[in-house]
Amino acid sequence: MSLDISFIGILIGSIMASSVPLILAASGELITERSGVLNLGVEGMMIIGAISGFALMVITDNLFIAIIGSMLSGVIISLIFGFLTQSLLTNHVATGLALTIFGIGLSAMLGKNFVGIPGKEFPILFSSLKESIPFFGPILFGHSIVLYFAFTLPFLTNYFLKKTKLGLVVRAVGDSPVSASNQGINVILVRYCCILYGGAMCGLAGAYLSLIYTPQWIENMTAGRGWIALALVVFATWSPIKVLIGALIFGGITILQLHMQAIGFRIPVQFLSALPYLMTIIVLVVISRDSRKIKLNTPTSLGRIFYKEK
C-alpha cells in the first residue's frame, strides 16, 4: 500500500482534531491542580458542556451562544465543586467523583429530547488554503477556531504559569496554601478562580465534541476522555507542553490503530485498542523522568483541604 503525502497530511489533520478535547480539558485541569485542587469531575463537566452546547445550538440556532453557553455551564457545575470543597471543606476526591456521576446522569436526562437531531455545520477557517496546499494545507488550515485556540492554549498556559504574576500566585497557592495565606494571598479566592477556569475549559472541550467533532448528541459521548485528560495532567507532570505532546500521541495512536484495524493488521484488536493508553503513558513517563523537575512542578498541596485560621 502506498501512502501518498497528501493522505499523511489529512491523517495528521484528523489526529489534531481528535486531540482537541483532551488538550482543552487537560489544560484547564492543569491550572486547577496547580492551585492545589484535585477535581476528578472533568468527565462530568465535559459531558455537561457537550449537552448544554448542543441544546443551546438547537434552541437558539446560534453557534456562538452555544459555545459560550457550554463554557458557562462548565463554570456553573464546577462552582458546585468549588463551593463544596473550598467553602464546606469536603474531600476533593469524593466530591470530584460525585460530580462526574452527577454530570453523566444530568446530561442523559437533559439530552433525552436531543437524541437524533442532526448537528449544524461549524464554520471552518481558511478552507480554500486547505485544498490548495498539499500536505501542509490539511494540517494547518481548514479547522474550526476552537482547534486553533486549543493548540495555542498549552503555550499560553505555560507562559501564564512561568512568566506572569498571577501564575506565580497560583503556583504559590498550590505549593503551600498556609504560607500563601500568611503572605496575604486570598487562597480560597485563587482556588475558586482556578476551579471555575478548569470548568470553563472542560465545558468547551465537551462542546467541541458535540458541536464540531461529531456534531450531534449521543448519551455518554465523552466516552472517558475526561479521565484521559486527568491522567495526561499527572503523567505530563503538570507541564502544559507535555500535556500537548501527550494529547497528540494519544489522539495519533487512536486514529492510527483505527486505520490499522481497517487495513486488517494481524494483531489482536484488543491490543490495538489498548495501544493509545499504553503508548501515551510510556512516552510521558520517559520524557518526564527528571525527578528534580517532577518535584518542582508537582503542586505540593494537591488534594489537601485548606482552611483559614481565625
Binding site: R171, V178, N182
Partner: protein, 499 residues
C-alpha cells in the same frame, strides 16, 4: 524616627484553652525584646495576632499611638510589621527570587537590584535562582528575613528562629539582628531558650499559661531566675551521682566500627571502639554533622555494615534489624521526633503499636488487638506524665515535649537493658527537659544503661558517667565525666587536642 509598639489587653480564647489572657506589653525601637515562655504559653498566638494571621477576641494594638486594625496579614504588612515564622512560610518549589517577588509591587528588574543591595549590605550569600527546597534551614531563614527587609519594616518579629539553625548560623543571625536593631528596627524575639535571651536581648517579658508574668531588664536576670519565672515553680536541680565502678560488666561493646558512604552529605566513620557498662550512661558529644547520624543509625540497625562487630549482652547483633535488636531489649529514641520516631498523622495508640514485640501481643492472627494497645498506651501516658489521656489523639497535636515523653515511654515500658538516644531534649522547653533528664537518670539508677548522643554539652555533663567526643567520624579517648570541663569538650569538639 523611633517606633513604639503597644499591645493593650489582648485576649484570645480557643475552645478549651485560653491562649492569651489580658496581655499588655510595650516595646520601643533601639532595643531587642525577648518574649520568653514554654511551649504553649501563648507566645505564638500573640505573634500571630501581631502579624494579622489570627484576630484577637479582645484588646488593641498601637503602633506609634495609632490603633491598628490587624484583620489579615496584609494589614500587618501595610503597617510595616514583619514576621519570620518558626515554620518557614516559604514556597519550596518556587525559586528564591519568585518567593521574594510574590508580594512585591515593583517590577522584577528593580526588585532584583534591591535584593542584591540587601544581600551585600548584610553579607548574605544566597543564589536567587535556585528553588527554595535546595536551601539549608539557615538560608531559608535568610530568605524570610530578606522578604521582611524588602518592605522596610518598623517591627521585626522572630518566632523561635534558632530551633532549626546550627550554632554557626545562630551566631550569624544574632549579628544580623543586632545590625537591624542599630538601624532602628524594633525587634521582638520569641524563644524558650534562656541563654539566647541573656546573650541577645535587652529586655525580657515572660509568659506563662497565656499571661505575662514578668517584664524585666535582662542584665538583672540569670538563667535560673528566668527559668523559675517561666516554669512558675522552682526547678529541681538535677545532679547525677556518678557511678563508675570498675568491676561492672560491659553490656554493650563496639569493635572496629567503620562506615564508608558515597553520599557526600554523610560522614565516614573510622575505627570506632567503645563499650558501655551496666548502669552507665555513655555520652557522645560533638557538633552536629560529625557522624552522629550515621552512628545512631548503625547502633539502631537502620544501617547494617558488614564486618562490624557489635556485642550486646554477649551476643553478636551487628546483622540484626531494629526490630530484632528491640527483641534483645535495646531501645532507641532518634533525633527527629516527627519524622523518625513517630508518625504524626497516626493516633497515639497507633504510634505505640508500631513498636510491637512478640511478647506484647498487640496483634493476634493478623488482627489488631485495639483494646490491648489502648490499655498499654494509657499506661504510658500516665506513667510518663504526658499531658493528655486521650489515646485517640493524633500525635501531631502533641507538643514536642509531650511527644518526646510518649516516645521515651514507648521505648522504656518494656524495661530495655540499653537505651540509645540522640538529642532527646532538642527544641524542648525547660520543664520537659527537666523531666526527660530525670527519666534518663532513673534508668541508670535501675542498673540499665544508656548511650546519650547529644550536641548539648551541658546535658552531657549533667547526665553522663563517661564522655567521648566524635569529630569528623573519629572518637576521642573516653573520659570519666568528672575529669571533663565544658572548655575541654569545646576544644575536642572543634577538632583540637587536650594532651
Amino acid at each position: 524616627m523611633t517606633t513604639d509598639l503597644r499591645i493593650s489587653n489582648i485576649s484570645k480564647i480557643y475552645p478549651g484553652c485560653i491562649a492569651n489572657d489580658n496581655v499588655s506589653l510595650q516595646f520601643k525601637s533601639g532595643k531587642i525584646y525577648a518574649l520568653l515562655g514554654e511551649n504553649g504559653a501563648g507566645k505564638s498566638t500573640l505573634v500571630k495576632i501581631l502579624s494579622g494571621v489570627v484576630s484577637p477576641d479582645n484588646g488593641e494594638v498601637f503602633l506609634n499611638e495609632k490603633n491598628l486594625k490587624l484583620s489579615s496579614p496584609l494589614d500587618a504588612k501595610k503597617n510595616k510589621i514583619g514576621m519570620v515564622f518558626q515554620h518557614f512560610n516559604l514556597f519550596e518549589t518556587l525559586s528564591v527570587f519568585e518567593n521574594l517577588s510574590i508580594d512585591a509591587t515593583e517590577d522584577n528588574k528593580s526588585l532584583r537590584v534591591r535584593i542584591n543591595e540587601i544581600l551585600k549590605k548584610y553579607n548574605f550569600s544566597i543564589d536567587l535562582d535556585v528553588p527554595v527546597l535546595n536551601l539549608s534551614a539557615g538560608h531559608k531563614q535568610k530568605v524570610e528575613i530578606i522578604r521582611c527587609l524588602l518592605r522596610s519594616p518598623k517591627v521585626l518579629i522572630m518566632d523561635e528562629p534558632t530551633s532549626v539553625l546550627t550554632e554557626q548560623e545562630t551566631e550569624e543571625l544574632f549579628i544580623s539582628l543586632k545590625k537591624f536593631c542599630d538601624e532602628g528596627i524594633l525587634i521582638i524575639y520569641i524563644t524558650h531558650k534562656l541563654k539566647e535571651v541573656l546573650s541577645l536581648c535587652d529586655e525580657v517579658a515572660v509568659m506563662r499559661k497565656g499571661k505575662v508574668v514578668s517584664v524585666s531588664q535582662t542584665q538583672n536576670e540569670k538563667i535560673e531566675t528566668l527559668a523559675n519565672k517561666m516554669v512558675g515553680q522552682k526547678l529541681a536541680k538535677i545532679k547525677k551521682k556518678i557511678n563508675i565502678s570498675k568491676n561492672k560488666d560491659e553490656i554493650f561493646k563496639v569493635k572496629h566500627l567503620n562506615f564508608y558512604s558515597d553520599d557526600p552529605f554523610e560522614t565516614n566513620l573510622v575505627n570506632l571502639n567503645f563499650s558501655v557498662k551496666k548502669g552507665e550512661c555513655l555520652g557522645i558529644a560533638g557538633i552536629s554533622g560529625n557522624g552522629q547520624n550515621e552512628l545512631f543509625q548503625i547502633l539502631s540497625g537502620e544501617i547494617i555494615t558488614p564486618d562490624t562487630s557489635i556485642i550486646f549482652r554477649n551476643k553478636e547483633i551487628a546483622k540484626l534489624n531494629p526490630k530484632q535488636r528491640r527483641e534483645y531489649l535495646m531501645a532507641f529514641s532518634p533525633e527527629d521526633r516527627i519524622s523518625q520516631a513517630a508518625v504524626p498523622e497516626l493516633k497515639i495508640y497507633e504510634n505505640v503499636a508500631l513498636n510491637n514485640f512478640k511478647s506484647s501481643n498487640f496483634f493476634e492472627k493478623g488482627l489488631v488487638n485495639e483494646k490491648k494497645i489502648k490499655e498499654h498506651s494509657k499506661k504510658i501516658l500516665s506513667d510518663f506524665s504526658v499531658n493528655t489521656d486521650n489515646v485517640e489523639l493524633k500525635s501531631q497535636f502533641l507538643s514536642g515535649g509531650n511527644l518526646q515523653k510518649l516516645i521515651l515511654g514507648r521505648e522504656l515500658i518494656t524495661a530495655p537493658e540499653l537505651l540509645i538516644c540522640y538529642n532527646p531534649t532538642w527544641g524542648l522547653d525547660v520543664g520537659a527537659i527537666n523531666y526527660i533528664h530525670e527519666t534518663l537518670i532513673k534508668i541508670n539508677d535501675q542498673e540499665k544503661s544508656t548511650i546519650l548522643i547529644s550536641t548539648d554539652t551541658e546535658e552531657l555533663l549533667k547526665l553522663s558517667d563517661r564522655i567521648v567526643v566524635i569529630y569528623k567520624g573519629k572518637l576521642s579517648k573516653i573520659m570519666p565525666s568528672e575529669e571533663v570541663t565544658p572548655e575541654k569538650l569545646g576544644v575536642l569538639m572543634g577538632g583540637g587536642s587536650i594532651d
